[in-house]
């Protein structure tokens, strides 16, 4: 056991040395207080649908709507709720799909994909350029088959991002939208590609869509 202790101490010293260059972001306190403040404001205001909003850097714009898919920005509240099976051929998207717009790039979610929460968050740091890969479970395919995990087929769609998003360090921004009263059962994970993999975007989906609110958030601080 003593040998284990000695070896452990040496391993610990080596690990500390290997991560000695890792430092917390300079504006960590501001980021935490920003999150704390937004949460407090959301609770006090009784905001059920739109939760927290923008944290920092870069112009993250996300709009989630239900209705006919169309290229380019989609105006708030212009489309009726969509219904459907939620299953489409790879790369194909029905006209009644939902669409999510990420800074000018439109992602189409198949009709019937229930949305309870729509969230976007990213960690900035590693990539001058990148793609978001949005993974959908249970055959709600938006693109070519990518992989299988635990017997489930995972599909993806790629969304190009502006390179400026990924320059810098620290937490980028986040946006969460939640439709109350719907149980969350599925999730959708998006991750920026690249060796560092420090950027991430996460979506969570729920069971049944009756209405998807439009959320349009522009970065209000530290953009660029």
């Amino acid at each position: 056991m003593l040998i284990d202790e000695e070896a452990g101490q040496r391993i610990g010293a080596r690990l500390r040395a290997e991560v000695a260059d890792i430092d917390a972001p300079d504006d960590l306190i501001g980021l935490i207080r920003g999150r704390h403040g937004r949460r407090t404001a959301a609770v006090r205001g009784g905001i059920a649908i739109a939760g927290a909003a923008v944290l920092a850097t870069a112009g993250l714009t996300l709009a989630a709507v239900s209705g006919p898919a169309a290229p380019g920005p989609v105006a708030a509240g212009t489309a009726p709720p969509a219904h459907g099976s939620g299953s489409h051929p790879a790369g194909g998207v029905a006209s009644s799909d939902h669409s999510i717009e990420l800074d000018g790039y439109q992602v189409k979610l198949p009709a019937g994909v229930p949305i309870r929460k729509v969230g976007a968050g990213y960690l900035v740091g590693s990539h001058a350029t990148g793609y978001f890969a949005i993974f959908l479970e249970r055959g709600k395919n938006l693109g070519p088959k990518l992989a299988t995990a635990h017997g489930r087929t995972v599909h993806h769609v790629r969304v190009g991002l502006r390179s400026a998003w990924w320059v810098g360090t620290g937490r980028g921004g986040e946006l969460w939208v939640q439709i109350p009263g719907l149980p969350a059962t599925e999730f959708l994970v998006a991750k920026v590609l690249g060796a560092g993999e420090t950027a991430a975007l996460r979506f969570a989906l729920g069971l049944a869509v009756t209405h998807v609110p439009v959320v349009h958030v522009n970065c209000s601080a530290n953009c660029g």
Binding site: D4, V19, I22, L31, G130, F135, R171, G194
Partner: protein, 178 residues
């Protein structure tokens, strides 16, 4: 004065966040996840600052470990994320110094291959220098389990790295501290 303006919290974050981030990084193996976890842990400590302020580091560390354990459980049921591009197509990382020195993080890489519980034991015992009892309490396991995990983890790490590597790194650390 509300908790948001509490200078003690601010001072704690300033002085201890780097060490906690390193712990989170070693627990998760991912810098982005580590920053995310640390922010969440600090946010929770801020919300419960009256409770946390007597021993903030222990409080935040406990939250970090709990969040990590939640993540481990969730990731087991989640589809594995795969890079869409590989080789020359892959997006080239342009990180700063941290990315450039990634090549010499041999032991961190070896640590990432350990089962999550063993990894946590090594990090808490030998990086954070916590005693067996405290490590056991943090992870919600018995002290004997901590010892057996330690033994297994060290055996694995020894397999991944030669003794020479470990001795050499210890000597480097000693020199750096002189």
């Amino acid at each position: 004065m509300g908790v948001r303006e509490d200078p003690a919290f601010e001072a704690f974050v300033r002085t201890r966040s780097a060490a906690l981030l390193r712990t989170a990084y070693l627990l998760t193996g991912d810098r982005g996840d580590a920053e995310d976890l640390l922010q969440t842990a600090l946010l929770r400590s801020l919300r419960h600052w009256r409770t946390a302020r007597s021993a903030p580091e222990a409080y935040v560390r406990q939250v970090l470990v709990n969040l990590c354990r939640d993540n481990w459980r969730r990731s087991a049921a989640r589809p594995r994320e795969l890079p869409l591009l590989s080789g020359a197509e892959a997006v080239r990382p342009v990180d700063g110094p941290a990315e450039r020195i990634g090549q010499r993080r041999d032991l961190v890489s070896a640590l990432a291959l350990l089962p999550a519980a063993q990894r946590a034991v090594i990090v808490l015992r030998f990086v954070d220098d916590l005693p067996v009892a405290e490590t056991a309490a943090l992870l919600g396991i018995a002290g004997g389990t901590v010892k057996s995990y330690t033994s297994r983890a060290i055996a694995t790490l020894r397999g991944a790295l030669t003794d020479h590597d470990i001795e050499h790194s210890a000597a480097e650390v000693n020199r750096a501290h002189r």
